[in-house]
């Protein structure tokens, strides 16, 4: 298999192995999807067209990509912060949902001047989100319980709590569907570019990326968090307070998801009406995995996923393939990217050959 690559090409391959591995993972996932589409659809051509080119066929459609990228960036950053200290605290999805619910309560029952109002809601939701994320994290730190199980269970609790808030606290009884009253105008985020739904939440997302980038790279706390994630024993030995670093990173992770929920409900829906979870918190896993703990790469991954999603949504409306296919696709990507040893044998053989060619090992 490694026959055709020689000399320089082989060297490039070894140096950029991680990238090739991820590309292979994506290729495998796409191959599976291609087979599924061909088996189940009579219009594979149309599916391919809408999936790949659909999002750039109009401004409104491309706007959809950016709109979707906002919660994706925030959730991706949220999971990134959780993973920084190796905690699979996957409550972001529940936090996102419950903060949509709380944002609707604040928007409907508080009364503040315009401009300040959405900011206050975002801050409150950030605090709530952080506090909620501390539940599984705190239980793990204090009682050593399995953080993933607790977080996933918490998601269900939050889902039912959000539904309760919707049905018993903020529901507009005149509606034929389950939805809250519309938010007052001053409690929504303004649209930035007319003709699309691109709203001021974009600015929030950009600020969040800058903040996390700065935090991780240039602050003492960020260093403590990163070191704790790499080697907590070593961190402890160097005098870093490990437990506060863990809890703070989880708090920040939770508040990012909370901000995501608030921004989404104020920017896109302007009422709380979705009574199932959107799953953006779980999309954050793919984004964080692809983003490799780097806020800038997370942004790129979020936009890429938003593009895929928008493509899938168009496929959903113009062909006979449902939107959920992309869920299959993206989770396959996660699985194969997570597979550390994927192509490791190939890499090993390449390195051996390369070093043999450079005169290092001659007996292989």
């Amino acid at each position: 298999m490694c026959g055709p690559l020689k000399g320089k090409a082989r060297k490039t391959f070894i140096q950029n192995f991680e990238m090739f591995r991820i590309l292979t993972a994506i290729a495998i996932a796409f191959a599976v999807i291609a087979v599924l589409v061909m088996l189940s659809s009579d219009e594979a051509g149309a599916v391919t067209y809408w999936f790949i080119l659909g999002p750039v066929t109009s401004l409104r459609r491309f706007g959809g990509v950016i709109e979707l990228a906002v919660p994706f960036v925030l959730c991706g950053l949220s999971i990134t912060m959780m993973f920084q200290v190796n905690r699979f605290n996957l409550c972001s999805d529940g936090v996102f949902y419950i903060c949509m619910a709380f944002a609707s309560i604040f928007a409907l029952f508080l009364d503040l001047p315009p401009f300040i109002f959405p900011i206050v809601i975002i801050v409150l939701c950030a605090l709530i989100g952080g506090a909620v994320a501390l539940i599984p994290a705190g239980l793990e730190v204090k009682f050593n319980s399995n953080v993933t199980v607790c977080a996933l269970m918490l998601n269900y609790v939050l889902q039912y709590l959000g539904r309760y808030i919707l049905l018993y606290k903020v529901k507009d009884p005149t509606l034929t569907y389950n939805g809250s009253f519309m938010f007052p105008d001053k409690a929504t985020l303004p649209v930035l570019i007319s003709g699309t739904r691109m709203h001021a939440g974009i600015l929030v997302a950009v600020l969040a990326v800058a903040f996390i980038f700065f935090l991780l790279k240039y602050t003492k706390l960020g260093f403590a968090i990163r070191l704790t994630g790499k080697n907590s024993d070593f961190a402890k030995a160097t005098g870093i307070k490990v437990i506060p670093a863990i809890l703070l990173s989880q708090f920040i992770g939770g508040s990012l998801a909370g901000i995501g929920g608030a921004v989404e409900v104020m920017g896109i829906y302007k009422q709380f009406r979705i009574d199932t979870m959107l799953g953006y918190g779980f999309d954050g896993i793919l984004i964080a995995v692809m983003g490799k703990n780097n806020p800038l790469k997370v942004t790129v991954a979020a936009i890429a996923l938003a593009y895929l999603r928008q493509g899938a949504a168009l496929v959903n409306s113009y062909t006979d393939i449902p939107l959920e296919l992309v869920m299959v696709l993206q989770n396959l990507v996660v699985i194969f990217v997570a597979a550390e040893q994927l192509m490791a044998g190939l890499k090993h053989r390449m390195i051996v050959k390369q070093s043999a060619a450079e005169g290092g090992v001659s007996h292989v």
């Binding site: 699979f88 009682f143 609790v157 049905l167 006979d320 296919l325 597979a339 040893q341």
Partner: protein, 313 residues
Amino acid sequence: MSSEMVTATLILSFLYSVIRMATPLVYGSLGAIISYRAGSDNLAIEATMTISAMVGCITSIYVKSMGLAIVLAMAAGVLLSLFLAFMFLKLEANCTMTCVALNNFTTGLAMFLPFVLFKGSKGSTMGQNSMKFASIEVPILKDIPVLGDIFSGHSILTYLSVVVVFLVWFIIFKTYFGLRMRAAGENAESAMSVGINVYKTKMSAYVLTGMVSSLGGLFMSMYYLSWFTARMVAGRGFIAVSICNLTGARPFLALLFAAVFGAIDALALTLQSAFNFPAELLQMLPYIATIIGVTLVSSLEVKRQRKLQAQRR
């Protein structure tokens, strides 16, 4: 009917539904126990149950054969389990991450396939003519007043679950395979040093996990409801993993704990139908109970470890 009669029927139907709700949890937790004994928490029980629920239900729609539905559902569960094991044993993927991705993958597939096959609503086979396990009226038992009301009239899977509990216990603790599996799970290196093929042993354990937990999935789509919906397993896979943790991976104890969680589930259902209490708040109960349970057990474990350490000093 007098009010005492009403209360009595309510209690009887509550106890009946405890057993009914416990059944999928028994199978799920047995699957989790086998994986746990082989070395790791299997958070993909949820996916295993979902995919077998789907495959079983869809097979029965197309083929109208209960036997084939069971076989294919179990095969699907085993395949998913093996895929997971291959990914984290051979390709060294992070186990938790792979499990979570597999769960979401399965949900996506479960939304996608029924829609493509039946062109109906997304992620549901409602309206299709699928098959269902029969409720069995146990002779003699069904005529005993109170006991008959509670223990008779369940599906074959419910009665079978007791047998499977025994079988799993027997396999884990009384066979050579079980011994090898526990050795490989507890300390892979020392197991290897005495000549156990750790990889093969663990893979076999995951085959068993897939077989057992897929029965729980079958129960969901072919008895609990007579159709399949994508999110019907609703976290039972995770509750099953918690039961495994709570019991320290002991099969008979898991049967008991499954009944406890079944009772919480049934309580939510009964309260909801009997009193006018917001269903949403009641539905939180099993999940809150799981969080508390997991925390309680691990905190006890931490205490025990500390005590041991103190004794050693």
